[in-house]
């Protein structure tokens, strides 16, 4: 590409300098971090942001247009859409983070096994190939159709759909590392197996998994919203962005705001996570950054 980075410094830059350097080269990451920070603060301090009880029904004020009193209007049960949208951030963030952490945990476990145990490799990868050919949303739909609607089940369903991809990634990293001279040297010098795994293999999976984790978080937030939107997600008693939009579905020609505001918040949240992910990827893997 046109921009050639300056000659690499010989001494290893301290971590703080690396972060500052990455931020300077990727201004979009700063935007992402600010937006994401804002979302997290909004979710944590939801009760103090001029909200009322998001479940508070009031037949007297049904389907009010957005106004000074009801910033985002009210829905057909008279619930305040602003309050529901602010509280909805909690569900999206919880699902995004939980799915990212869980699927990376399980994916790491399966990936390390497949990368090291040949017998397990064929078996596990066959299963993963099969799972990967089921479109993730349909996989989650099937799981949700057979379980009771709950936040935990949504997280489990999306996690199961994400595990095969993480397993693939970890496996390819492990297979690449096994051929590296420093691992061969460790083996040759009689380092124990679990020590090689913990000291040499595991640390090298951190960077790609961190990047992958942000992308999983973003896609889990979208999947949760889609599942709730089509009625296979979090129970309607929980105000999640997908649920709010689902309730506005039949009314969208007269009450656009029920769908518009949660939709915008969802898009901004996903954009923020994606921008942070892109920045991390560029900062952690400069070789890849130049290509992507």
């Amino acid at each position: 590409m046109a921009t050639v980075p300056a000659a690499a410094p010989i001494e290893i830059a301290p971590a703080r300098g690396m972060v500052r350097d990455a931020l300077r080269r990727h201004p979009t990451m700063i935007i992402g971090l600010i937006l994401l920070g804002g979302m997290v603060l909004m979710a944590v301090f939801a009760p103090y942001l001029g909200t009322i009880d998001p479940q508070d029904l009031s037949p007297m004020r049904r389907l009010r247009q957005p106004s000074d009193l009801y910033w985002f209007g009210t829905d057909m049960l008279g619930r305040d859409v602003y309050s529901r949208t602010v509280y909805g951030a909690r569900i999206s963030l919880i699902v995004g983070i939980a799915v990212a952490v869980l699927s990376i945990g399980f994916g790491l476990f399966f990936g390390l096994i497949t990368g090291y145990v040949r017998l397990a490799d064929t078996l596990i990868m066959r299963v993963m190939d099969g799972l990967m050919s089921i479109p993730p949303i349909l996989l989650a739909i099937a799981l949700m159709a057979l379980t009771k609607a709950s936040l935990e089940n949504v997280i489990v369903a999306i996690t199961i759909a994400e595990i095969p991809r993480v397993t693939r990634l970890v496996r390819s990293v492990v297979l690449g590392l096994r051929e590296q001279p420093f691992v061969e040297a460790a083996v040759a010098s009689g380092t124990r197996f679990h020590r090689i795994l913990l000291r040499h293999i595991l640390p090298n999976t951190v960077a790609p998994l961190l990047v992958q984790g942000t992308y999983i978080c973003a896609s889990a937030m979208i999947t949760e919203a889609i599942l709730s939107f089509i009625g296979a997600g979090t129970p309607p008693t929980i105000p999640s962005w997908g649920n709010i939009m689902a309730e506005g579905r039949s009314l969208f020609q007269i009450a656009y705001y029920i769908i518009l505001f949660p939709g915008l918040f969802l898009s901004v949240a996903v954009l923020a996570v994606n921008l942070v992910g892109d920045g991390l990827r560029d900062a952690l893997d400069p070789r890849l950054a130049r290509r992507m």
Binding site: M1, A2, T3, T28, R126, V127, D129, G130, L131, S133, I134, P135, P136, I137, L138, L139, I141, A142, L143, M144, A145, L146, T147, K148, A218, I222, A225, I226, F229, I230, G231, A232, M245, R249, F252, Q253, Y256, I259, L260, G263, L264, L266, S267, V270, L271, N274, L275, D278, R290, R291, M292
Partner: protein
């Protein structure tokens, strides 16, 4: 070559086997009694017993799985719990809208995304590249149904250019058919376009730094000839691969798009089935969609040998 195709065809059997086994065993693996959950909150014990017998949950797993798998192989996907009609009939009635929507989106997306990626790579680092890449980031971030509603608000309700919802068969005229596919295809295609454009750009950048490109430029070949004839041809394999893998996005997106635009396709069928917890339909649709995905990616794999003579099997 022929032996390779046969070998690849055989390799899809275990993959589809895993899909079938997984979709089937979900009935047994999920916590709680699926018959009770499917029957719903207001079911009588009789209803539950009827559903249990219908799904064969009262018999041993392997016996039931063998029977079901043999049925599927013969093209029978079972009977819907709610409507009592064969699942294949229900899916058959809904094929046209889904195929029309997916194919239109596929064709339009590929013919837009590849040139976008090529131009971005050609102008890497300049404003055109930034616009394309900015679009790609946005395309990954705005969920299909949010985009779909934004399109409806703007093009159908505000400008009144296009119909809000619905589907018209191609037999009733080409324009009414196309008119109702424009917005759904646009909404469905954005993420797919973003994905293909991004990979096209990356793949092109790799090729554009090669010596033979410099040679082609040095001998005075026009830019378009270099880009298409020399670069794109050599960058094709990753692009075709992502077009195949990205089909999964389209299939997942169809479920949502058909819901927003009230299109009576297979995606809508599955959404209605969720609300009624009609598991045989969900099972059947997953099998059909997964099979389509596997077959398309098989075709992609085989196409490599035609695209790149260096790849031999």
């Amino acid at each position: 070559m022929f032996a390779y195709i046969v070998r690849r065809l055989l390799a899809t059997i275990p993959v589809m086997g895993v899909v079938a086994l997984f979709v089937f065993s979900l009935l047994y693996l999920t916590p709680g009694d699926p018959a009770v959950i499917i029957a719903g909150d207001f079911a009588t014990p009789d209803d539950v017993a009827r559903i249990r017998a219908k799904l064969g949950l009262d018999r041993p797993f392997w016996e039931r799985f063998g029977e079901w798998a043999w049925m599927v192989v013969r093209g029978d996907l079972g009977i819907s719990i709610f409507t009592n009609l064969p699942v294949t009939t229900l899916i058959g009635q809904r094929v046209e809208p889904t195929v029309a929507l997916t194919l239109t989106t596929l064709l339009v997306s590929v013919s837009l995304a590849v040139p976008m990626g090529v131009l971005a790579a050609w102008r890497a680092g300049r404003w055109l590249d930034r616009v394309v890449m900015g679009f790609a980031v946005l395309g990954f971030s705005v969920p299909i149904f949010v985009l779909a509603y934004l399109f409806i608000f703007f093009f159908s309700i505000y400008l009144e250019w296009l119909p809000v919802q619905g589907f018209t068969s191609i037999r009733e005229g080409f324009w009414p058919f196309l008119e109702r596919l424009i917005l759904p295809s646009a909404a469905l295609g954005i993420t797919y376009i973003a994905l293909i454009a991004r990979i096209t750009r990356a793949s092109m950048l790799e090729v554009l730094s090669q010596d033979y490109i410099r040679t082609a430029e040095a001998k005075g070949l026009a830019a378009d000839k270099v880009l298409v004839g020399h670069a794109l041809k050599n960058a094709a394999v990753p692009i075709i691969t992502i077009i195949g893998i990205g089909i999964a996005l389209l299939i997942s997106g169809v479920v949502v798009t058909e819901t927003v635009f009230a299109i009576p396709g297979i995606g809508r069928l599955v959404v209605d089935a969720i609300l009624r917890r009609d598991y045989p339909i969900i099972q059947g649709v997953i099998l059909i969609f997964s099979a389509a995905y596997v077959v398309i990616n098989l075709a992609v794999d085989i196409s490599y040998t035609f695209l790149d003579p260096r790849i031999r099997y």
